[in-house]
């Protein structure tokens, strides 16, 4: 059955709401509007306003409410319309959701799911195009996932809801319209493991979320040049599947990391650091990061495209590391 990423998310929500009366969805315009990205369209009609709660513009307020509801035994899904607005809720996530279990000595867990759209590429300019996955992945106590495929979009919500701790789900705005075959019966998704999306032997392209399609496209282009790239989709940014990362590098000895964050302080930097620590003797060439240029995102299309990671950039970075011999 062919489904879009958006539909997969929708179905996952409908299923979760149906299967567990503790689950509810709260966020701006999730109900009557149908969701800013139409993920929750129709759910209000199916589940009613107690389960699909249209929130006022109060990111901190309704995220904190999610923390409390989770503490109180419910299973809230908080939709923050986009990561850009999540800055307003960050305190509740970092100082609340992520910390309560530890600082209470294990007295309480916070089984909260927070979803948000992320990323650029739609000409929404400097305040609406952030990629901040790495910030969330920095915080102990959180689990951070970035479904990059339709199957993961379908499966990760259930896994996140089954998690006793807070899970942040990043949905890249460029993925909502992507379609793929899905099996009739939903599959459980093991969110602890990275996935090799394309096997290869010459170079490892490591990425996640919205950069996966570009990276796969680059891998195809490289194949045409005779460079056999392996593409690793991290899927879960915290905790990292270190084993999978080391495995691909041990195989190819060359690495390009693709990430839409700005280069300095990017999550790609974390992967590079990890390799410089733990796979140093496996590396045959400098690591390359393909990230966003260090500019607030410009509106004009040609500038935005120049600022974002692009297939051509991935290809040339891969060529470079394959060309670089010691």
């Amino acid at each position: 059955m062919k489904k879009s990423y958006r539909e997969a998310l929708h179905d996952a929500h409908a299923e979760a709401l149906r299967d567990d009366p503790r689950v509810f969805l709260v966020g701006e315009d999730v109900g009557r509007y149908g969701g800013a990205y139409a993920v929750s369209k129709g759910l209000l009609e199916l589940f009613g306003p107690e389960r699909i709660m249209d929130a006022p513009l109060s990111e901190s307020g309704f995220t904190g409410l999610g923390v409390g509801a989770a503490l109180g035994g419910l299973r809230p899904i908080v939709e923050i319309m986009t990561v850009n607005f999540s800055l307003l809720a960050l305190d509740q996530i970092v100082n609340g959701a992520a910390t309560i279990r530890y600082m209470s000595g294990g007295a309480f867990s916070v089984p909260l799911v927070v979803r948000m759209a992320t990323g650029g590429g739609r000409q929404l300019a400097a305040q609406h195009s952030h990629s901040l996955e790495g910030w969330y992945a920095h915080v102990p106590g959180l689990r951070v996932v970035a479904p990059a495929t339709v199957a993961d979009a379908r499966g990760m919500l259930a896994t996140a809801l089954a998690d006793p701790d807070p899970v942040i789900i990043f949905e890249h705005v460029g993925l909502f319209a992507v379609t793929d075959e899905l099996p009739e019966l939903p599959q459980a998704v093991d969110i602890d493991r990275a996935a090799v999306r394309r096997a290869g032997s010459d170079v490892s392209l490591i990425t996640f979320g919205g950069s996966l399609p570009k990276t796969l496209e680059a891998a195809e282009a490289l194949a045409a040049e005779g460079i056999d790239a392996e593409v690793l989709d991290l899927r879960t940014l915290r905790p990292l599947d270190v084993e999978a990362i080391l495995a691909t590098v041990t195989k190819t000895h060359r690495v390009v990391i693709v990430d839409e964050m700005w280069r300095t302080g990017s999550f790609a930097g974390e992967i590079a650091a990890l390799l410089a620590e733990r796979a140093f003797f496996e590396l045959d060439a400098p690591i390359r990061r393909v990230c966003s240029e260090e500019v607030p995102m410009p509106y004009a299309r040609h500038l935005e495209q120049a600022a974002l990671p692009a297939v051509a950039g991935i290809v040339s970075a891969a060529r470079e590391v394959v060309g670089d011999h010691e």
Binding site: P56, A125, A126, Q127, Y299
Partner: protein, 326 residues
């Protein structure tokens, strides 16, 4: 019913509103032609507010607006050419094509954006007002925002600071009854917005935002109050958005009849009728106005069309201020 200004005054009001209306209608078309991209939020239905408030401001004053700010920019005097070029993402745009529809700026016009984080402009306006007060020339900061912003914590923080510190801010709430798809009654336990100002001891008033003369009178009083006292004033203008929230909005949340009903109360249609009845506007004059406005718009479009895109080599320009400027 309030009294009409003299003929010239009336025609100026009508012309300013018409100019916004036709400009935005054209923008809507240009969006479909993909000349304009990203988010486009039309002000259609709300033109009376910007028109009748900004006319009372002068060069001492600062203006802060939201992503729905074409009208404010135009009445503030930003050349239509530079606004249109901005929406085209061209280098002659008022923000060099970096901002787009949501981020119009102009130093010459003391026009401080174009903020697309709901509520984010309010504290900024308070700071601009503080700076105005220090200069001591009677300048103020006029801050426009939607009723949706009233749920954000920053609304509350900014109102408190403005009154506590006696800052000359004119807060103008454009209450169009919806924040995206969320009706005011579903986002505020107290839906009377202007009453909120009282809880900060801020003088406030509400006015029919569809009646340009009423807004002009209220705004005149409000500006005088701020200049006279040095304290903030809160003006709520009750209005309605005729179009979708943005070009992505399927408008599932309100019946077509409701929109139709409000359209009949629209600021242009009602004012035009009133002027005609008072013998202040005849068909020839109306046609002449339409022609003049149409000419300006087509000139702006032509200008935007021929304006170049910024050189990609300048992508990183203006991330920081050139050091020589210090």
């Amino acid at each position: 019913m309030n009294e009409l200004p003299d003929k010239a005054g009336c025609l100026a009001l009508y012309r300013d509103m018409l100019r916004i209306r036709r400009f935005e209608e054209r923008c809507g078309e240009l969006y479909k032609e993909q000349k304009i991209r990203g988010f486009l939020h039309l002000y259609i239905g709300e033109e009376a507010i910007a028109t009748a408030v900004v006319m009372h401001l002068d060069q001492r004053d600062a203006v802060v607006a939201t992503y729905r700010e074409h009208g404010h920019a135009l009445v503030r005097g930003l050349p239509m050419r530079s606004v249109m070029a901005e929406m085209f993402g061209k280098v002659d745009g008022c923000s060099r094509g970096r901002g787009g529809s949501m981020h119009l700026f102009s130093a010459a016009h003391q026009f401080y954006g174009g903020h697309a984080i709901v509520g984010g402009g309010l504290p900024v306006a308070a700071g601009l007002a503080l700076a105005r007060r220090r200069v001591g020339e009677g300048g103020l900061a006029a801050c426009f925002f939607g009723e949706g912003a009233a749920a954000e914590g920053e609304f509350h923080e900014a109102l408190n600071l403005a009154e506590l510190w006696h800052l000359p801010v004119l807060f103008i709430c454009e209450n169009n009854r919806y924040a995206m798809g969320t009706a005011l009654e579903r986002s505020q336990s107290e839906p009377d917005i202007h009453a909120k100002a009282a809880s900060y001891r801020i003088a406030s008033e509400w006015v029919d935002g569809m009646d340009v003369v009423a807004v002009a009178e209220a705004a005149e009083r409000a500006v005088a109050a701020v200049r006279g006292s040095g304290d903030p004033f809160f003006l709520e203008c009750r209005t309605y958005r005729f179009r979708a929230h943005s070009m992505f909005d399927p408008e599932l949340y309100r019946p077509k009849e409701e929109v139709e009903e409000w359209r009949r109360k629209g600021p242009l249609v009602t004012f035009q009728r009133r002027l005609e009845e008072a013998g202040l506007l005849n068909e020839d004059e109306l046609e002449a106005l339409e022609r003049e406005v149409a000419r300006e718009i087509e000139d702006a479009v032509a200008f935007a069309e021929q304006s170049p895109f910024e050189d990609v080599a300048d992508l990183a320009r203006d991330v920081y201020t050139p050091r020589t400027a210090t």
